[in-house]
Amino acid sequence: MTILYILVPAALAVIFVAVLAFGWAARRGQFDDLETPAIRMLRDDLTAATRQSPPPGPERED
C-alpha cells in the first residue's frame, strides 16, 4: 500500500490543475452570462454571400 504515498499526491496535483483551470475561466468571465450563449447559437450565422454584398436599398426577396 506504499503506492498511496504517490497516488494520493498525484491525484491532488490533478485536482489542483483543474481548480487552476476553473479559476482561469471564472476570471475571464466565462460564467458571467450563462443564458445568452445558449440562445445565440440557435440562429445560424450570416452566410459569406450576404455579408460581402449588402444591397444598397430595400430589396425584395423572392
Binding site: 491532488l12 479559476g23 471564472a26 440562445i39 445565440r40 450570416l46 444591397p55 430595400p58 425584395r60 426577396e61
Partner: protein
C-alpha cells in the same frame, strides 16, 4: 416572401411580413409592394433590416412575435460629450464602449439582430447582448460613426435604449461575482477530496487499517481543510464577527461557531492522534453554504441595477435659445428664465411654460395616461415628457432636481432606502437557535465532565458541529432561488426573496387603474349612429394619428374605409374632409359643435365618464361615439380571488374620479378605498400612510406609480409603459393582465410553506443529532452519514417542490 411564412388565419387573412402577427384589417394594413405590414413600425424595421443586408433575419421561422413600436426619440443626447463621460469608457485604442439597457429583448432573434449591428452600421465594431440583464455592450469607432446613430438604428428595430451607469460599480460587482465563483470551485474541489479520504477512513474503521495509513489520511485531510477554512470559509467568520459587533445574531454566528469548533478540535485531535476529526463535515458545509449564498446574491443583484436606469429618463442635453440662435448645452446648466427649444421627438429637458408653437406631448411618464395631450402657448410643460408634434419653445421655470420629474425620482430613491428590511424567518430563528445550542453544549460539557472528563469536550464539540444549521441556512436561499426561477418561466420576475415573504401573508393591496386593471388604451364603448357611417369614420380617421383613430380601427376590423378627399387634420381636435357629395367633420365634441349648424342633443347621450367624439355631415351631427378604457378580461376574477385570500384591496388612480369610481364599483371594491385624480405625489403619500399600518403591496404600470411602488413594502410593476422605469419594482409581471398577480401571490404562499417545511425538517435532524451528541453516542460515522443526508433531503425538497407551477 410572405409565402414562405406560416400565415395564421386572421380576419384579413394576412400576416405582417416583419413580425408575423395578423394584420388586423385591410383598413389598417399598409398597402405596400413588399408588405403586408401590420404597422408603420414594422415597415420601417423591415426596410432597415434589408437596407443593412440582414435579410437573412427572415430566413428562419423563429423570430420575435411583437409589432415594432419605435419610441420616436432622437438620441441626440447620446452624442453629447457629457454623456460619454457619464456612462461610456474610452478604450486604449481610441474606440469607445458603452453599456445600454435595451427594452423588450427576450429571444434568440433579438440576440441575432442586436449583435449584427456592426454589419449594419459602419463604424460600430462590436455588440454583445446579455439577455438576462437586457444589457447590450457596444463598441464603436467615434471617428466613423456616433452612438446616436447606433441607438437610432436599434430604436427603429424596436429596441429603445437607456444608458446604463456601468463602468466603475459594474466592474467591481463582476469581480466580486467571479471571486465568489472561484471560492466555490476551490471549496468544492477540496470538499470532494476530503470526503473521499474520509470514506477510506470510515471503511478502515470497520476493517483493519494500519495505523500508519490512518495517520497519513488524517494529516492529508487536515492539510486540505485548513486552506479551505482560511480562504473560501473566511466570509462566514468575518460576517459573524460583524454581526456580533453590531450586537445582532444571524445565521452566520452558529455557522462560524460550528466551523471554528470543528476545525480546531480536528486539528488538535489530528496532532494528538486521538478522537474524531470533523474535516469532511466542515468542508462540505463551507461548499454548500457558499453555493446557497451565491444563488441568493445573484437574485438580489438585479435590484441594484434597476434604480440606476431611472436616471436615463431625464434628457442630458437641451437646446438653449440664445441671441445668436439655438445652442446645445447640458441640461444641468439650465436655470429658470432661459428659453429652450424642444423639437419633435425630443424629451422636454426642464419644467417650464410653453411660449411659442403648438404641439402634443406624451405625458405618460408623469400621468401614466398614454393619450397625447396638446399644449399651446402659456401652458405648463414638464421635464421627461416627450414632444410628439411640432417644435415648441419653452421658458424654463424649474430645472434638474427641482423639476417635477427630478422630485419624483428623488422621492423614489428615498422610499427605496427607507424601506423597512424584511426580517427573514431563518434569521429570526437563528437567535434562538444559537442560544439553545450554546446552553446545550455547556450542559453537555458539565454533565460529562462529572461522569467521564476525557470525552466531555469531544461530546460538546460534536454537538456544536452536528447542530450546525447547514440545512437551515441552505434551505431558505435554495427554496427562494428555485421558486424565483420557476416564477421567471411563467413571466413573473421576482427580485430578492424579501418580496416572497411579504406576499405570502395577506395584507393591504393597492392597485393602479389605467394599464393595470384596465387595458390602458381607448376602446369604443358607445356608438350612436348607423352602420353606413362606419366606413366614413374610418376613412376620416385614417388621416389622424390620434389614439382615437386607432381605437376606431380596432372596433371595426372588418369594415373598409371610405375614400375621403381634401382631408385636413387639426392636432388633438379632429379631422375634416369630403366624401362623395358631403362634407364631414369628426373630432372632439367642441371641435365638431364649432363647425355644426345643427348641434342636436346627440352629444348628451354619451355617458359622462367616456371621451366623446361626434361626426357631422354637412353641418348636422349624425353620430356620436364614447370611448373608455375597458377593464382587462381577467381583472374581475383576479380581484375576487385575491379578496378571498384575505387581501384588503384599494385603487389609487390618476384618472378622473368618475371613471375610477365606475371601475371600482364593477370590481366590487368599497367606494372608500377607491380614489381617483391622485397625483404621483399623492399616491406616494397614500401608500406611506397605509404602510404605517402594515405591509402594503402596490401594483402599478407607469412612472407616475414609481414613487408609490418604491415606498410600498413590495412594489409590483405590470407590463406596459417603459420597462426600464418599472425595473424599480420588486416584482415585474412580464405578461399582460392581472392573472400573473394571482400566480404571484399563490406561488409566494406555496414557497413560504416549503421554506417552513424545510426549516422543520432541518430542526428535526438537529434535534436527533443533538440527542445523540448529548448522550455521547455520536460517532464519526453517524455524523458523516447525517451531514450529507440532511443537506440532500433539504436540497431535494427545495428543488422539487412545485412552488410556481400552474395548478393542474
Amino acid at each position: 416572401m410572405s409565402a414562405t411564412l406560416a400565415e395564421p388565419v386572421t380576419r384579413s387573412g394576412l400576416s405582417c411580413v416583419h413580425c408575423g402577427l395578423p394584420v388586423p384589417s385591410p383598413a389598417t394594413a399598409l398597402p405596400e409592394a413588399d408588405g403586408p405590414f401590420c404597422c408603420a413600425g414594422c415597415r420601417t424595421a423591415w426596410q432597415v433590416i434589408h437596407a443593412a443586408g440582414l435579410g437573412e433575419y427572415y430566413a428562419s421561422g423563429d423570430r420575435r412575435l411583437a409589432a415594432v413600436t419605435p419610441s420616436g426619440r432622437r438620441y441626440d443626447e447620446y452624442d453629447h460629450p457629457s454623456f460619454e463621460s457619464l456612462y461610456g469608457t474610452t478604450l486604449p485604442d481610441g474606440t469607445r464602449e458603452i453599456a445600454l439597457y435595451l427594452d423588450r429583448v427576450h429571444c434568440a432573434s433579438c440576440v441575432w439582430l442586436v449583435e449584427r449591428v456592426p454589419l449594419a452600421v459602419p463604424g460600430a465594431l462590436a455588440a454583445e447582448l446579455d439577455v438576462p440583464r437586457s444589457l447590450a455592450t457596444i463598441r464603436w469607432n467615434p471617428g466613423v460613426t456616433s452612438l446616436g446613430t447606433i441607438a437610432r438604428f436599434l430604436d427603429q428595430l424596436g429596441y429603445p435604449s437607456h444608458p446604463f451607469q456601468g463602468g466603475r460599480g459594474e466592474a467591481n460587482r463582476r469581480a466580486e461575482d467571479r471571486t465568489m465563483l472561484l471560492h466555490i470551485g476551490v471549496a468544492g474541489a477540496i470538499a470532494l477530496n476530503v470526503m473521499t479520504l474520509a470514506l477510506a477512513l470510515y471503511a478502515g474503521w470497520f476493517g483493519s487499517m494500519e495505523a500508519e495509513y490512518t495517520r497519513y489520511f488524517r494529516w492529508l485531510s487536515m492539510a486540505l481543510t485548513v486552506p479551505a477554512v482560511v480562504w473560501p470559509g473566511r466570509v462566514f467568520f468575518t460576517s459573524a464577527w460583524g454581526a456580533l459587533r453590531a450586537r445582532r445574531l444571524h445565521m452566520d454566528v452558529p455557522i462560524a461557531l460550528a466551523l471554528g469548533a470543528g476545525t480546531l478540535r480536528g486539528v488538535v485531535n489530528t496532532v494528538a492522534e486521538t478522537g474524531p476529526i470533523y474535516f469532511d463535515g466542515v468542508v462540505t458545509l463551507i461548499f454548500l453554504l457558499l453555493v446557497g449564498r451565491f444563488l441568493q446574491q445573484r437574485a438580489q443583484r438585479s435590484a441594484a441595477d434597476a434604480a440606476e436606469l431611472l436616471h436615463g429618463l431625464t434628457p442630458h442635453t437641451a437646446r438653449l435659445v440664445t441671441g445668436a440662435g439655438v445652442e446645445e448645452v447640458p441640461s444641468r446648466s439650465l436655470v429658470p428664465g432661459v428659453t429652450v427649444e424642444v423639437r419633435p421627438g425630443d424629451t422636454v429637458p426642464a419644467d417650464g411654460i410653453a411660449r411659442e408653437g403648438r404641439s402634443a406631448l406624451d405625458l405618460s411618464v408623469l400621468t401614466g395616461e398614454s393619450a397625447p395631450v396638446s399644449v399651446g402657448a402659456g401652458e405648463p410643460v414638464f421635464a421627461g415628457t416627450v414632444n410628439l408634434g411640432a417644435t415648441i419653445r419653452v421658458e424654463v421655470t424649474q430645472a434638474g432636481e427641482a423639476s417635477r420629474l427630478g422630485r419624483i425620482l428623488r422621492e423614489l430613491e428615498a422610499g427605496m432606502r427607507r424601506r423597512a428590511p424584511v426580517v427573514h424567518t431563518a434569521d429570526r430563528l437563528a437567535g434562538w437557535f444559537v442560544a439553545a445550542v450554546l446552553v446545550l453544549a455547556a450542559v453537555t460539557y458539565l454533565v460529562w465532565s462529572r461522569r467521564d472528563p476525557t470525552v466531555a469536550l469531544d461530546n460538546a464539540i460534536a454537538l456544536l458541529v452536528v447542530t450546525c444549521p447547514c440545512a437551515l441556512a441552505l434551505a431558505t436561499p435554495l427554496t427562494f432561488t428555485a421558486a424565483i426561477g420557476r416564477a421567471a418561466r411563467q413571466l413573473v420576475l421576482i427580485r430578492g426573496a424579501d418580496a416572497l415573504e411579504v406576499l405570502s401573508r395577506p395584507g393591504q393591496l393597492v392597485l393602479d387603474k389605467t394599464g393595470t386593471l384596465t387595458e390602458g388604451r381607448l376602446a369604443l364603448e358607445t356608438w350612436i349612429g348607423g352602420a353606413g357611417l362606419e366606413p366614413v369614420v374610418l376613412g376620416l380617421e385614417r388621416h389622424s394619428r390620434h389614439p382615437i383613430a386607432a381605437a376606431f380601427a380596432r372596433a371595426w376590423p372588418t369594415r373598409t374605409a371610405a375614400v375621403i378627399e381634401d382631408p385636413a387634420s387639426t392636432l388633438g381636435a379632429g379631422v375634416t374632409g369630403r366624401g362623395g357629395d358631403h362634407r364631414y367633420a369628426i373630432g372632439s365634441v367642441a371641435f365638431v359643435l364649432a363647425r355644426a349648424i345643427d348641434p342636436n342633443r346627440l352629444a348628451d347621450r354619451i355617458p359622462g365618464h367616456q371621451t366623446g367624439v361626434l361626426l357631422a355631415r354637412d353641418g348636422v351631427v349624425v353620430a356620436a361615439a364614447g370611448f373608455g378604457d375597458p377593464l382587462r378580461t381577467d381583472s374581475m376574477a383576479a380581484v375576487a380571488r385575491l379578496g378571498e385570500r384575505g387581501w384588503t384591496i384599494g385603487i389609487l388612480s390618476g384618472d378622473a374620479p368618475g371613471a375610477v369610481a365606475a371601475v371600482g364599483a364593477r370590481l366590487g371594491i368599497p367606494p372608500e378605498r377607491v380614489r381617483g385624480g391622485v397625483t404621483p405625489e399623492g399616491k406616494l403619500a397614500a401608500v406611506r400612510e397605509l404602510a404605517a399600518r402594515g405591509p402594503v403591496v402596490m401594483v402599478g404600470d407607469g412612472v407616475n406609480d414609481a414613487p408609490a411602488i418604491g415606498a410600498a413594502t413590495v412594489g409590483v410593476g405590470v407590463r406596459g409603459g417603459a420597462e426600464a422605469c418599472l425595473a424599480a419594482a420588486d416584482v415585474f409581471l412580464a405578461k399582460t393582465g392581472l392573472g400573473p398577480l394571482v400566480t404571484l401571490f399563490e406561488g409566494a404562499e406555496r414557497t413560504m410553506a416549503v421554506v417552513r417545511r424545510n426549516i422543520a425538517v432541518s430542526i428535526g435532524y438537529n434535534l436527533v443529532g443533538a440527542a445523540l451528541a448529548v448522550t455521547g453516542t455520536i460517532d464519526p460515522l453517524i455524523a458523516a452519514v447525517m451531514m450529507p443526508v440532511s443537506s440532500l433531503t433539504v436540497i431535494l425538497l427545495s428543488v422539487r417542490s412545485k412552488t410556481f407551477e400552474a395548478p393542474r
